[in-house]
């Protein structure tokens, strides 16, 4: 899992920074207030290679796979104002 800071948001395009590296991810969020600049995302490194729109929502959402392990690569943690919000990848 990789921890990245949101440094820019333009429409659905998020610029994320970890150490000196920057990544661009196209993302949408359901079930929560949208992240803001300065928030931290913790997600699986492989998601950083996906060029199309990624969707995230509540862990219990029926639009994603059932999560049965803490290590599931569909899990994302959003840290906002010191609070950790657990989300999972939604599909479709």
């Amino acid at each position: 899992m990789k921890s990245l800071e949101i440094v820019n948001i333009e429409n659905f395009l998020y610029t994320l920074r970890s150490n000196d590296m920057e990544y661009s991810l196209s993302m949408e969020f359901f079930d929560i207030e949208e992240p803001v600049i300065g928030d931290i995302l913790i997600l699986h490194e492989e998601l950083l290679n996906i060029p199309y729109l990624l969707s995230f929502g509540d862990l219990g959402s029926s639009y994603g796979r059932k999560i049965e392990s803490n290590d599931d690569k569909d899990i994302m943690v959003l840290i906002h104002d010191g609070k950790r919000i657990y989300l999972k990848r939604l599909y479709g």
Binding site: N11, F12, L13, S18, N19, D20, M21, S26, E28, F30, E45, E46, N49, I50, P51, Y52, L53, S55, G57, S61, S62, Y63, G64, R65, N70, K73, L90, Y91, G92
Partner: protein, 453 residues
């Protein structure tokens, strides 16, 4: 045996050879074609078969190989529209301009398999199309008890979506949705896999010129370098991938280190000729290389499929065991007295180690390690914060001289069964609950966990 299969067996192993024979009978009719396709796109690896099958990606693997065949052929000039081409392929094409139009397709999806597109708002970020098979009413979900992404049901209703930016990155959504692997990469996200010429037709008719052609093949633990090949990697940090076979991929550029001169293991490089060890990416700040004194000699032996690397210094030897993928699985470091911060902080795979002389362990010691089950530090008096933070397998702590464990150590070690730390007096404020309980019991003189030792 077919000559091509012999080549595949040599480069990728027997199991891969059998898989290719099953998946690509027509490609094997053209001599040289399949090995060329494989070797152009997948770095030689005897783990590839296992990695594909462990992730249930056989169908996706088949799709991607066939999509490479399409690229090899000459470009087909097509004068038909996207609608006409899809008509030929048996689909009706619809472009959705409103939310209501999108919702009208929800009826085609089984309960629990609806696309998250139907949650609303997708038109803000994507151009949305649906392609529906003309005989969709005859294709029933109950006839497909084992969903496969590319089967008739999964591809009978597809949503074709392009990002609303200059990249127009494409994602083709499957009718099974998340009940199959990689549902957002149906047809390997290549419209020409539906019918040749479709990609160009969408570009002409709707302006969907794709900046980067999606490969649409996601194989966990693999990276596609700028030579177009997929490489298995052991570690990725700062967009640098550390691969078996003495390969480092830095910003997608492949660097192959000569085996006679260098040994790349984990994220370190051992310079065999100049007798030095270093971290490839100095910004990581891992203190393991600096814990090794001036090297006098290096020996590498092979034993039971592993490499045993012995580094001889004036202060004593350091013995490292690497598995077949050049991951460090065992370490004996017999003279280090104090490890700096971030000592092997990013290592995942170490299962055994011995630091018999270490009196102090700095912060983030083996922070990311996942595989260690027993930690024994016979002389250590202090453990720095965040040590073994990510480890979930730890069962035993043998720390006879430890007086202080700083905050956030062993935080995910919920399976701890045995703790022996009779001199422990100080525990950081954020601490593993089992160690907290151990300290409380020790203070009460009720050291049940040590009695179980």
């Amino acid at each position: 045996m077919n000559k091509d299969l012999k080549i595949i067996k040599k480069k990728y192993g027997e199991a891969m050879m059998h898989l290719c024979r099953d998946l690509f009978p027509t490609l094997l009719e053209t001599e040289g074609l399949l090995p060329e396709l494989l070797m152009s796109h997948f770095h030689e690896s005897r783990e590839l078969y296992q990695d594909i099958t462990d992730n249930y990606l056989e169908e996706e693997f088949k799709d991607i190989i066939y999509s490479f065949v399409d690229v090899e052929e000459e470009n087909i000039v097509v004068n038909k529209s996207a609608k006409e081409l899809l008509e030929e392929a048996g689909y009706d094409l619809y472009q959705c301009m409103t939310e209501e139009e999108i919702q009208s397709f929800k009826k085609y999806y089984a309960k629990g398999e609806e696309l998250c597109t139907f949650r609303g708002g997708r038109l803000n970020s994507c151009y949305v199309f649906f392609a529906v098979k003309k005989d969709v009413e005859e294709i029933r979900r109950e006839d497909y008890s084992t969903p496969r992404r590319q089967d008739e049901y999964g591809t009978s209703v597809i949503s074709i979506q392009f990002r609303k930016d200059k990249t127009h990155t494409l994602s083709i959504k499957n009718r099974y949705n998340h009940k199959v692997n990689n549902p957002d990469s149906t047809f390997a996200n290549n419209l020409d896999n539906i019918i040749p010429g479709l990609m160009e037709a969408f570009a002409k008719d709707y302006g969907m010129v794709q900046e980067h052609k999606s490969v649409g093949f996601e194989l966990p633990g693999y990276v596609q370098a700028n030579d177009g090949k997929f490489y298995k990697y052991n570690y990725e940090m700062n967009n640098i991938y550390y691969c078996p076979g003495n390969i480092i991929i830095d910003n997608f550029e492949v660097k192959q280190y000569e085996r006679e001169k260098f040994l790349v293991f984990d994220y370190f490089i051992l310079d065999l000729q100049n007798k030095k060890i270093m971290t490839y990416d100095e910004s990581l700040g891992d203190s393991f290389p600096s814990s090794i004194d001036e090297i006098e000699k290096i020996e590498v032996k092979h034993e039971d499929g592993n490499k045993i690397v012995e580094i001889f210094t004036k202060k004593g030897p350091v013995r490292i065991t690497l598995n077949a993928l050049n991951q460090m699985v065992s370490l004996e470091h017999n003279y280090v007295k104090a490890t700096g911060s971030d000592f092997l902080a990013y290592n995942y795979y170490l299962k055994q180690f011995s630091l018999p002389e270490a009196e102090m362990v700095g912060e983030s010691f083996l922070c990311d390690n996942e595989d260690l089950e027993q930690l024994s530090l016979p002389k250590a008096r202090q453990i720095g914060k965040f040590s073994l933070f990510e480890n979930r397998k730890l069962k035993g702590l043998d720390l006879p001289e430890v007086e202080a464990i700083s905050g956030s150590c062993f935080m995910n070690a919920h399976e701890l069964e045995h703790i022996y730390a009779p001199k422990l007096e100080y525990l950081g404020s954020i601490a593993n609950s089992k160690i907290k309980e151990y300290l409380k019991n020790k203070e009460r003189g009720n050291d049940e966990i040590t009695r179980n030792r």
